[in-house]
């Protein structure tokens, strides 16, 4: 019964739109944070810790400002969808930008 309620509780196109908006937020912020990490010259574990810190800050901001504190209204899996699912994708973007900026500032003459 609970599963059936789930089917009728969420309007699929809006959920998809929310997911896309969240993904865009994460892509843009990961580019900003990656640039910062590269320019600051963070390497190794510092870089990943910086990413995790920024992830916490951004997720908190999304949860309070965009989701108005109730993520289960906007996404099917609630907080997990906001905090857990996009991590890998964002991490890959972050690594790309971090490597790029670090190389531009420190490796090239």
């Amino acid at each position: 019964m609970a599963d059936q309620n789930d089917l009728y509780k969420y309007f699929e196109p809006t959920v998809q739109h929310n997911t896309l908006a969240l993904s865009n937020i994460h892509t843009l912020t990961s580019w900003g944070v990656g640039t910062a990490a590269g320019i600051l010259g963070l390497t190794g574990w510092n870089g990943f810790i910086f990413f995790l810190l920024s992830w916490v800050v951004i997720s908190a901001a999304v949860l309070t400002i965009k989701c108005e504190g109730k993520p289960s209204v906007f996404f099917k899996s609630g907080t997990m969808d906001v905090v857990g699912t996009p991590v890998l994708n964002t991490l890959l973007s972050y690594v790309l930008v971090w490597t790029l900026m670090h190389a531009l500032v420190y490796i090239y003459d």
Partner: protein
């Protein structure tokens, strides 16, 4: 130079201008190109015939009846069950009644299926070919030199893969060749593509890699080989074992008891 100290090197800016940026730009452009091409190449989905739809919907009707049996009284449920079971048994909803005895039709003979399969294969080609081309192009033109230094360390085993053209055994794993820049881009540009092309885009290289590994399951995707006759019969069995319990059973007693106008006189399974 002992291992463990920072190996500081500076690279020629010409490498940056002529290799770093071009690889990224090319990958983005090829992704966009692939997306547009896929849109152009995807034909109209085949129009389903009314009989096909009727088959599917008849099955769904049985399913809905089984799931929602608590909303209708026993008499109504029994009537529907009787009608549907008779229809399933007789095969009123089947597309080809004559085929009822023969089992599943030959998959290849159905012309609609050919189109669907060709479309699927075309999409897969669109995915695999550009990736292979770009990898080959990079290997051909941009091999044999260091491109970039990774800000993070990796295990020693990666050295062989990432420094493919360079014969220096002591150099840090963090100095890598252009192929690894290709891989970093491959994974990292997904976000950029979803920004530029919207959510559902066909420019993702990694999705094709996973699609390649599941290519074996492609033959079952069209869904036509479902033998509806068998499914009808199994749905009929499902319906006959459904335990019907009406939600509004004895509703008068329950309302009275709930509002305290009448003490509960008998045990019922509903609270």
């Amino acid at each position: 130079m002992a291992d463990g100290t920072e190996q500081a090197m500076f690279l020629d800016p010409a490498i940056r201008d002529w290799v770093l940026f071009p690889i990224t730009v090319i990958m983005v452009l090829v992704g966009v190109f692939r997306h547009q091409l896929t849109i152009l190449m995807t034909g109209e989905p085949p129009k389903p015939e009314p009989k096909d739809i009727r088959q599917g919907k008849a099955l769904m009707r049985g399913q809905i009846l089984a799931q929602n049996n608590s909303y209708i009284p026993l008499a109504a449920f029994a009537e529907r069950k009787k009608y549907l079971c008779a229809a399933y048994e007789e095969g009123t909803y089947l597309k080809n009644k004559a085929q009822k005895e023969q089992g599943a039709a030959n998959l290849m003979a159905d012309p609609k299926n050919m189109e669907v399969m060709m479309d699927g294969m075309k999409k897969q080609m669109m995915g695999i070919v550009p990736q292979t081309l770009i990898m080959g192009w990079i290997q051909f033109f941009f091999s044999g030199f260091i491109l970039i230094k990774l800000p993070f360390p990796l295990g020693v085993r990666f050295k062989q893969m990432l420094q493919s053209g360079i014969m220096t055994p002591n150099m840090d794993v963090r100095w890598v060749s252009s192929l690894s820049w290709y891989f970093i881009n491959l994974f990292g540009l997904r976000g950029v593509f979803s920004l530029i092309l919207g959510g559902e885009n066909s420019a993702d290289g990694t999705r094709d890699m996973t699609a390649m590994s599941t290519m074996g399951a492609m033959g079952q995707q069209p869904g036509q080989p479902q033998d509806f006759n068998k499914q009808f019969l199994s749905m009929k069995d499902n319906l006959s074992i459904v335990y019907h319990e009406w939600d509004l059973e004895n509703i008068e007693q329950r309302v009275l008891v709930k509002y305290g106008k009448q003490a509960r006189l008998f045990k019922s399974s509903r609270k």
